[in-house]
């Protein structure tokens, strides 16, 4: 049995009061609930305050480039499909620099879980607008206020028939633990967008702001109803729905690739007779 101690205790580089702390705790609790030992899990992250999170627990980790965690996670999962791969990064990393990979990963439906620390701001670089910053928010880089329509990650994910799409809030830890657990258990691409207050740079979307708005989906909500999901995913205002917004059972990438139908690629022998055949075709 895995327990919380297995996840270690590290000093963080985060600001006191940051929403990243409860997210870290929730992740540790989820790993315990999932009974995953540190060596069974591979975290992959990008660059940003959020992306440091996996350094603060015990697990395998590939902390790659800003915006490029998803391709690295995809490659690692292909190399060893037995790994539980969790990709954890910030909104800027995942939806900004990494936007194209976000689209592709959804479409690929490979069995990785993506946890986005969505603080609606670029934290580590000191407070520029991120793709999810609300319209009108003023920053040093946007002194006239943001004029772009915010990116709607959940709506886009549902529009592209992502396998599993959920939203949670760092201030509701039990809910968050449940979402992470469900996302990891889902076979295929899973997205959990987590609203996370940044106390240093986001003075608009604060803990209280989120707290007031986040509202759990009712029990009778049917996350397999795509039309409903699309509407629900697009809700963002006085009420922000949290929970599993959409899911389906599209086959996962690794279940559709011949070479992945056996054991993992890592360590598998190279078939020398097949190679001889390949060469012979050039005669």
């Amino acid at each position: 049995m895995v327990n919380l101690q297995d996840n270690g205790k590290y000093e963080t580089a985060w600001c006191p009061g940051c929403g990243n702390f409860p997210m870290l705790d929730a992740m540790k609790r989820a790993l315990v609930k999932l009974d995953l030992a540190p060596h069974q899990v591979l975290f992959v992250s990008g660059i940003g305050q959020a992306a440091k999170a996996p350094h603060y627990l015990n697990a395998n980790l590939f902390n790659g480039l800003h915006g490029r965690s998803l391709p690295a996670a995809t490659g690692a999962k292909i190399a060893n499909k037995n790994l539980v791969v969790i990709d954890e990064s910030g909104d800027g990393c995942m939806y900004g620099e990494g936007g194209n990979h976000f689209l592709a990963a959804i479409r690929r439906n490979i069995d990785i879980t993506v946890i986005v620390h969505n603080n609606q701001i670029y934290g580590l670089t000191k407070g520029q607008a991120s793709p999810t910053t609300d319209e009108g928010v003023v920053t040093k880089a946007q002194p006239q206020g943001v004029i772009e329509e915010p990116f709607h990650p959940l709506a886009v994910a549902v529009a592209l028939h992502a396998g599993f799409v959920a939203r949670s809030f760092s201030g509701l830890q039990d809910h968050l633990v449940d979402m992470i657990v469900a996302a990891v258990r889902h076979r295929g691409f899973s997205l959990v967008d987590v609203l996370q207050p940044c106390v240093s740079f986001n003075k608009v979307n604060t803990f209280a702001w989120y707290k007031k708005r986040c509202s759990e989906l009712p029990n009778e909500y049917d996350p397999t109803d795509w039309n409903l999901a699309l509407r629900t995913a697009s809700e963002w205002g006085d009420r922000i729905p949290i929970g599993v917004i959409y899911k389906n059972d599209r086959p996962a990438f690794e279940d559709r690739i011949d070479a992945l139908k056996g054991g993992p690629l890592v360590g598998a022998p190279v078939p020398q007779d097949a190679l001889a055949q390949v060469m012979a075709a050039y005669a």
């Binding site: 580089a13 030992a37 540190p38 060596h39 069974q40 591979l42 992959v44 660059i47 440091k52 350094h55 015990n58 697990a59 395998n60 980790l61 590939f62 902390n63 790659g64 480039l65 490029r68 998803l70 391709p71 690295a72 996670a73 995809t74 490659g75 690692a76 999962k77 292909i78 190399a79 060893n80 037995n82 790994l83 194209n100 990979h101 689209l103 592709a104 690739i257 011949d258 070479a259 992945l260 056996g262 690629l265 890592v266 360590g267 598998a268 190279v270 078939p271 020398q272 097949a274 190679l275 001889a276 055949q277 390949v278 060469m279 050039y282 005669a283």
Partner: protein, 559 residues
């Protein structure tokens, strides 16, 4: 010319099936025991335009293409106009009488009478084969194999077109030098540079390959994709080149030997990833097929202008190795070698080739696969100290590499500067140690460097210095000069980084004149030699119009 060879050029527009019959003719020639060098010349379009497929053939080993054409086979009238000028003094042009072109040395064949327009390319193949005195049986067999999947009807019609062509040309012959009958032809493979890179990767034990299509390297991916299932590997077309390289790094980190391939513009998008591979000490093989640049340039032509770009790609300082195959065999063996060096030095390693070699089919002795085991990947967990530290500081800079999930150890890697156990750090003394650790690995890479090959006279009057695909043309040029009584030699680099001056300084210094021959406009390799050795290669022969350097080009420039 000292070499007895015949140069066949097929010309037509895209979509006429030129490459199909070019490939067939190449295969047929090799099955007769001949050596070949193919030069594919095509445009950036799918239909129309003007493409050529030239096959230089000889009973003796050859390494280069040739400008003058001995047998020009035209699939359209334009070919006669555009390529007629390249005909040698004794050459022949095969045309369709329906083209209505008149020319001195034209052999006017009635393509349309011999088969329907759909099979004009097969008619042309048959005419060429028959005029060259090739066996109709071998031709028919090759046609049967090629069209096997298209059903008996297609095969039959092609065979009839072939037969018609043979019949019509019976008794006719063209003077084509250097094609004596070979009674017991050795078994050889026909493959181009891309095929050989793909095979080399498979032989090394590649498990993951990701790519975004880009001429001239796309077919590496297609070959791997066609064989992925049976080879137990995964080929993934990525959303862009950035994804391609980051996927490959992720896969390699998790234990799958990995490669990406691309061309200059796609590689430009990968350079942040190159730096990531270096920082996380993840082995990675990167094949860059050069074509004329800047930017989109001439997508389907050849050039050698990305040497300095690849050598310095990626921010920061770290070791790497760059191989520059000069032949199809090199493509195979150096790709294997690239995987080995990448794995052992835990670094990015490059194969720097170009469109000419990528598309140039050659006759190749089958590789002795039994003697070529897959490379060993990673360290054995039981031989590793606990607690496991992925970036343990060692004397040679190489730390034992374990894979995540393959034991209870944890593997942690970071693109930030990191501690021995892989965690992010801002400790500046660790920074210093890690810089030195990473750079220390260059020593080992250097100790493994493939020395340049030398051919020709010791203490020559003229020494050509080449790298990559220019090798073949330069070798022949040197041989020709020598056959004319000039003391000449060639120094060819199939590894262009790191350079080890002790391996070649005596050759540079021992020559009266040193001439750099490169397919670019600024003599990049000559510059690199000067940087590394202080030796100035004062004279260079350069080509940058999109076509490969040929022996004639070199000889003309040298005078």
């Amino acid at each position: 010319m000292s070499i007895n060879a015949c140069n066949i050029l097929l010309g037509g527009e895209a979509g006429q099936g030129l490459v199909t019959v070019g490939n067939l003719l190449a295969k047929i020639l090799v099955r007769h025991g001949y050596y070949i060098v193919v030069t594919e010349s095509y445009q950036s379009r799918i239909r129309g335009g003007h493409n050529t497929f030239s096959i230089r053939v000889s009973a003796d080993p050859i390494t280069a293409s040739q400008d003058k054409v001995d047998l020009l086979v035209a699939l359209n009238a334009q070919t006669v106009t555009i390529d007629g000028g390249t005909l040698s003094d004794t050459g022949t042009i095969v045309t369709d009488e329906a083209f209505g072109v008149t020319c001195d040395r034209c052999l006017q064949a009635p393509y349309r009478q011999l088969a329907s327009a759909r099979y004009a390319n097969t008619v042309a193949l048959g005419l060429a084969a028959s005029l060259l005195g090739l066996s109709q049986d071998i031709c028919s067999e090759a046609v049967r194999e090629a069209f096997g999947r298209k059903g008996p009807e297609v095969i039959e019609e092609n065979l009839q077109a072939l037969a018609g062509a043979y019949q019509w040309s019976a008794g006719k012959s063209t003077p084509c030098p250097g094609l004596p009958k070979i009674s017991a032809p050795e078994k050889r493979l026909v493959m181009n540079g891309n095929d050989a890179i793909a095979l080399g990767a498979l032989s090394a034990g590649i498990k993951f390959y990701s790519f975004y299509p880009m001429t001239p390297s796309t077919s590496i991916g297609l070959v791997l994709a066609a064989n992925a299932a049976r080879m137990g590997m995964v080929v993934e077309q990525a959303e862009d080149e950035i994804a391609a390289i980051n996927m490959a790094i992720g896969a390699s980190f998790a234990g799958a030997p990995s490669m990406v391939s691309t061309s200059g513009g796609g590689f430009a998008l990968m350079v942040e990833g190159v730096s990531l591979a270096a920082m996380t000490e993840t082995p990675l093989v990167i094949a860059v097929g050069q074509r004329p640049a800047p930017a989109t340039g001439l997508p389907t032509r050849t050039e050698q202008s990305d040497l300095e770009f690849v050598l310095h790609s990626g921010h920061g300082e770290f070791p790497r190795a760059i191989f520059a195959p000069g032949s199809v065999e090199d493509c195979f063996f150096l790709t294997r070698r690239a995987f080995e060096i990448a794995e052992h030095s835990q670094s990015p390693v490059f194969i720097l080739f170009d469109q000419f070699l990528a598309d140039s089919q050659r006759a190749v002795k089958p590789f002795d696969l039994a003697g070529l085991p897959p490379i060993e990947v990673g360290a054995r967990p039981d031989g590793v100290k606990t607690p496991y530290r992925r970036f343990e500081l060692t004397a040679d800079g190489v730390s034992p590499r374990l894979f995540p999930g393959m034991g209870e150890h944890l593997v942690i890697a970071d693109s930030d500067e990191h501690t021995e156990d892989g965690h992010i750090t801002e400790d500046l003394s660790i920074r210093k140690a890690m810089v030195e650790k990473r750079l220390a690995k260059l020593e080992w890479i250097r100790s493994q460097a493939t020395p340049p090959s030398f051919a020709g006279d010791e203490s020559p009057d003229i020494l050509l210095v080449t790298w990559g695909s220019t090798f073949g043309a330069a070798l022949e040029a040197v041989e020709t000069m020598r056959s004319r009584g000039r003391k000449a030699a060639l120094l060819n680099f199939s590894q262009v980084w790191p350079l080890v001056p002790q391996q070649f300084m005596d050759k540079l210094k021992g020559a009266k004149e040193v001439v750099g021959v490169e397919g670019n406009a600024t003599a990049q390799f000559a510059r690199l030699i000067r940087r590394e050795t202080g030796f100035e290669i004062a004279r260079t022969i350069l080509r940058y119009d999109g076509l490969p350097i040929t022996p004639e080009w070199i000889l003309r420039e040298i005078k």
